[in-house]
């Protein structure tokens, strides 16, 4: 059965989720990436959207802007790791509960997730059309002067996902654990291949005695 979380998100909604769990989000979802983090964390601006108990998406969408309404054409997650330097402060300042992006985030974010009760999740990369079709409506946009990809797009979404938990409220970090796992396997896996190419520097003998 699909697990669905609806905004606003209380701590109880996410406290028991663990890395690797999969769920879908309904309600409001708001985009914010490099520039939004910079403004809020470094320039001291107050977010025009109240992120308290809400969800943030690292993404720069393609929106078809019209006089009557704006239509979401394509919205794929961008690499979350770019926001690593500022995410912890962003969580502390805004009270955001769910952060969605591509790939993992680092130790600082994991600590903040544990301390302030937030999680980071992955939406599968490259699935921009599916994501766009889960956007029911674009309600409004803030900070449009930052350009289309960097603005705060406030979206109404229905069962947005799959979202795979990569950092949980206990501070577990899936990508950090995975990287360690891959690194540990590398030497052993390479060994037979290294052995097989050892003789490759020798000059090949012509097969004359055939």
């Amino acid at each position: 059965m699909k697990k669905i979380i609806t905004t606003p998100i209380g701590i109880a909604d996410i406290a028991n989720l663990r890395i690797g769990d999969i769920f879908y989000l309904s309600g409001y979802l708001v985009t914010g990436r490099d520039d939004v983090h910079h403004r809020i964390v470094h320039e001291g601006l107050v977010s025009p959207y109240d992120f308290k108990d809400m969800a943030l998406l690292h993404a720069g969408p393609i929106v078809k802007e019209g006089a009557k309404e704006n239509v979401m054409i394509s919205i794929g997650p961008t690499s979350s790791i770019r926001m690593e330097a500022d995410e912890a402060a962003f969580i502390e300042k805004t009270g955001v509960r769910i952060i969605i992006g591509k790939g993992g985030m680092g130790e600082k974010t994991a600590e903040a997730c544990k301390k302030f009760g937030a999680i980071h999740c992955v939406f599968p990369g490259g699935c921009a059309v599916t994501a766009a079709s889960q956007v029911e409506k674009i309600e409004t946009v803030y900070w449009r002067e930052l350009g289309m990809p960097e603005s705060l797009w406030v979206m109404k979404v229905k069962e947005f996902g799959p979202l795979i938990v990569s950092i949980d409220t206990a501070g577990n970090n899936m990508f950090v654990e995975n990287k360690r796992y891959y690194a540990a396997r590398k030497e052993e896996v390479m060994k037979p291949i290294l052995q097989n190419v050892k003789g490759h520097m020798n000059i090949e003998q012509e097969e004359t005695d055939k």
């Binding site: 794929g76 990369g125 795979i164 690194a183 037979p192 097989n196 520097m201």
Partner: protein
């Protein structure tokens, strides 16, 4: 057919072809992904593959680019010396790129160095990137278009080793690139390995390697064996789709090589993400064409 007619025909066909190639994966890649999907067992990997395929289906239905990052346009051309319209190819591709940027639409992804401003139409200094290979005596024009996204270009690297480092240096270099960087490039990947004399021919060959159709092998038996061993080895790391633990981090490893200098051993690694948007189209003298990567496709 005169110049103007040939140019018009090439522009029109390529604009439509770009739309198709931005949303559909080549048959060989689609089949490979289908095969890998069946091999994954964890629920998480299944969910990721389901999302990949659902997205491709929706992209086709809505006629939209499958991934939001439509990348930069690369054209790898095989031009017959007897193809009569060589002089209009470059400007036609420039124009088709501009038009497709608006009509598909493609994301605006080109910034000139030092100006640091988006050009807005995906053309710029030496962009779209065009690589020419001449086929002596041929009278056809084959164009491979590739949408090079940011996420999968990021892990690319090349280095020159000393012969005393041996072929082992190549193996280690490929593993490092994939295990440390490739996991963020939306696996399963096609890993291109270029072996050459110096840094630029290794890098160029790594690109040509990943543009090769799936199921093809390096012509030397040892090269073909290394491709297979690298593929099995990388997959044995357990990285899986999206770098989230699974059976397959790569669809293929392709090696292309050139002769080397006795004093050098150069290696380039280039990665293509699962959204391997590689479209191949071949034009005849009269500008009629054949689409090689999508069975039954009509423009």
């Amino acid at each position: 057919m005169n110049k103007t007619e040939a140019k018009q025909a090439l522009m029109d066909t390529m604009e439509k072809f770009l739309a198709l190639a931005s949303r559909r994966l080549p048959d060989d890649v689609y089949e490979k992904l289908t095969e890998l999907r069946d091999k994954e067992t964890s629920p998480m990997q299944k969910v990721i593959y389901d999302a990949y395929f659902q997205n491709l289906e929706e992209a086709e239905k809505l006629k939209r680019p499958s991934c939001q990052d439509t990348g930069q346009l690369h054209y790898y051309i095989k031009a017959g010396t007897a193809f009569p319209h060589l002089d209009i190819v470059e400007e036609s591709l420039q124009e088709a790129t501009k038009r497709a940027t608006m009509s598909v639409p493609l994301r605006q992804n080109t910034i000139n160095y030092f100006e640091e401003k988006n050009t807005g139409d995906n053309t710029g200094e030496r962009i779209p990137w065009i690589n020419w290979d001449i086929v002596s005596g041929g009278d056809e024009l084959e164009i491979i278009v590739y949408f090079a996204g940011g996420g999968c270009c990021l892990p690319g690297k090349a280095q020159v080793f000393k012969p005393s480092d041996g072929y082992g240096a190549i193996v280690k270099y490929v593993f490092e690139a994939v295990a440390d960087l490739g996991i963020n490039a939306c696996p399963p990947l096609i890993v291109g390995v270029g072996l050459g004399q110096n840094v630029e021919n290794a890098a160029l060959l790594s690109k040509k390697a990943y543009l090769r159709p799936l199921g093809t092998h390096h012509p030397h038996p040892k090269g073909a064996r290394l491709e297979k061993e690298l593929l099995e080895g990388l997959n044995a790391l357990g990285i899986g789709a999206q770098g989230m633990r699974g059976e397959n981090v790569a669809m293929a490893v392709h090696i292309e090589s050139s002769g080397r200098h006795p004093a050098t051993l150069a290696v380039g690694v280039n990665m293509a993400c699962y959204a391997h948007r590689r479209g191949v189209i071949r034009f005849q003298k009269d500008m009629s064409y054949e689409i090689l990567t999508y069975r039954g496709a009509q423009l």
